[in-house]
């Protein structure tokens, strides 16, 4: 059940240029939050900026009641957020989203993320690993200056592949090609699932690959949002099964943000 609370900022770190990791105290929220959930942050209590900003949950420490999220400074809202100081209280709404990452029934969790889309995948990797799943992680970045969280993902993955588009760090190429290669060699496809979050072209490529090869796949989507609760019906995403001339929609905030790749047209 989502709640609204003022969470105290206890740690703040700029992990790469313009990307901030915030640790906040949110005991109630982490009790019920699941991997894939997000929160909505009201960065100012004035009418400007007006709407809350959706940000994924990166990591949770349930014993200590700590929730962590990571965001890139994009526009005005995230800029204001980045100026908050340790000790400040941040107005957050969450946990949001009924569509979360489901991994219980699989043996192998294949995680693929690109750029700032990798944040919601960490809690998934961590919990899957804790439950004894094999976790293979493939993270793609444009270049070496944008590579982040390598150490964190290493700790929660059995295998970690980092790629850069230009080869300036680690493997050169796209993360999906490394994932594909491992699936081609795999003998346990039915018990594996791909989990993807990242830029749209990457998601489309992953979705296409998974559907064509009958591989289980869950993808986390973004869309412009109003309320985050399923009230305003703003963040629509087309149901794959619905006809073009009479489309039907899910909503990212309520049905998602994580969907079965089969169900949505992106």
């Amino acid at each position: 059940m989502p709640i609204q609370t003022y969470a105290k900022l206890i740690k703040k770190e700029e992990i790469i240029k313009d990307v901030f990791k915030f640790s906040v105290k949110a005991e109630e929220m982490v009790k019920t939050a699941k991997p894939g959930n997000f929160i909505e942050i009201r960065v100012s209590n004035q009418s400007e900026p007006f709407l809350r900003r959706p940000i994924s949950i990166f990591n949770m420490n349930r014993e200590e009641g700590i929730l962590e999220f990571i965001f890139q400074v994009k526009g005005n809202g995230t800029k204001i957020l980045s100026k908050k100081q340790v000790g400040d209280e941040i107005d957050i709404l969450g946990p949001l989203g009924n569509g979360t990452f489901k991994f219980e029934k699989y043996n192998t969790v294949a995680i693929i993320g690109g750029g700032i889309g990798i944040f919601p995948l960490y809690e998934l990797a961590k919990e899957a690993k804790e439950q004894g799943k094999r976790v293979n992680t493939y993270l793609g970045f444009r270049n070496k200056d944008l590579v982040m969280l390598e150490k964190e993902f290493e700790e929660v993955s059995d295998k970690l592949v980092i790629t850069t588009d230009d080869g300036s760090y680690a493997e050169k190429g796209f993360a999906i090609d490394f994932l594909k290669k491992d699936f081609e060699d795999s003998s346990d496809i039915e018990n594996s699932c791909i989990y993807a979050c990242g830029p749209l072209p990457m998601l489309k490529a992953v979705q296409k690959y998974a559907l064509e090869n009958n591989i289980n796949c869950q993808i986390s989507l973004e869309e412009k949002m109003g309320c985050g609760l399923g009230v305003c019906l703003g963040c629509a995403v087309k149901k794959a099964s619905s006809p073009k001339d009479n489309p039907e929609y899910f909503h990212v905030c309520k049905g998602g943000p994580v969907f079965n790749a089969k169900d949505v047209e992106i």
Binding site: R42, V231, C232, G234, A236, S242
Partner: protein, 302 residues
């Protein structure tokens, strides 16, 4: 201190309602507070048949507000009656259904059904800017508003509120159309037709190109229109547009609104409607107002 009002025959414990399309059918916000604290809940615009709405993106932010082009996505009146109404009825609040259609026949058929349901009133949406037919098309002329209102009135015994669009040049005459058609009240304003352009893509942000502007940005326009309408009609007015605080609500009431409604503000703060109720009570204390009805229309023009 008395915050009770009788709005067009609907007895409300306070003048604060939540606006159509910004509160769903109450379920989501009932996780945050008891809906029984509200004067009334106005439902999402509901049509005879289910509607799936417009292509995304459907919302975007603008200065002190937002645009939406949802396109009246809703599950239809039958689903509402079976699933949402019984839920809303668990709370000690009034239920007003926002009704929309694309032809006069559709409005009439819908209101025939609504007349049989356990609801407290109907808000006729003649003002949605995001659908091609109906709605704003009827709402943009005195004759259009009067005709639809009159036809609906014939089949509806429950309190009838007509919701007006601000996208007209003479809001007072439109309100008069509702009154002459037999409406018990009017509500205003719906969203202002607007557009936002992504300057890098050189395309409108919304897939529908245009959308409706709401939020604090529109409040001064709404207050002016409520005042103008209050000078033109005798039926009560529900005022809305950008209300976030008790002070905002009082401003509308002084301009002539007997009740108020809170829309997009719910998205910023799920508790905003309760804060508005508290804010109204604080104002009453501070300014020695015993009866909230006493301040309705009490603005003194310069």
């Amino acid at each position: 201190m008395n915050t009770k009002i009788n709005f067009a025959g609907i007895e409300m414990k306070n003048p604060v309602t939540v606006a159509s399309g910004t509160f769903g059918y109450g379920r989501e916000y009932s996780n945050f507070f008891d809906l029984g604290k509200l004067g009334a809940v106005i439902t999402k615009g509901t049509s005879l048949k289910p509607k799936s709405g417009n292509k995304p993106p459907r919302v975007c932010e603008t200065a002190s507000g937002m645009l939406n082009s949802i396109g009246l996505q809703n599950p239809g009146v039958e689903y509402f009656a079976q699933n949402d109404l019984p839920f809303l009825r668990k709370f000690n609040t009034k239920v007003i259904v926002n009704a929309c259609g694309s032809t006069i026949d559709e409005y009439v058929e819908l209101c025939k059904i609504l007349n049989t349901l356990d609801i407290d009133g109907v808000e006729l949406n003649l003002s949605c800017p995001n659908v091609k037919a109906g709605c704003m098309a009827f709402g943009s002329s005195y004759d259009g508003v009067k005709t639809v209102t009159k036809e609906v009135r014939k089949v509806l015994d429950k309190p009838l509120i007509v919701k007006l669009t601000p996208n007209v040049s003479d809001i007072a005459s439109i309100a008069k159309g509702a009154e002459d058609g037999g409406a018990d009240a009017v509500s205003l304003i719906n969203t202002l037709l607007a557009m936002k352009i992504d300057i890098y893509k050189r395309k409108p942000v919304l897939a529908n190109n245009t959308g409706g502007l709401s939020g604090p940005a529109i409040k001064p326009v709404a207050v002016r229109m409520v005042y103008q309408v209050s000078q033109a009609v005798k039926i009560p007015i529900m005022g809305l547009g950008g209300i976030m605080t008790g002070e905002d609500a009082i401003e509308f009431m002084l301009a002539g609104a007997k009740a108020v409604s809170i829309g997009a503000g719910n998205f910023a703060d799920p508790y905003v409607s309760l804060k508005v109720i508290e804010g109204i009570e604080e104002y009453m204390k501070k300014c020695n107002v015993d009866n909230i009805e006493d301040i309705v229309g009490k603005v003194e023009m310069n």
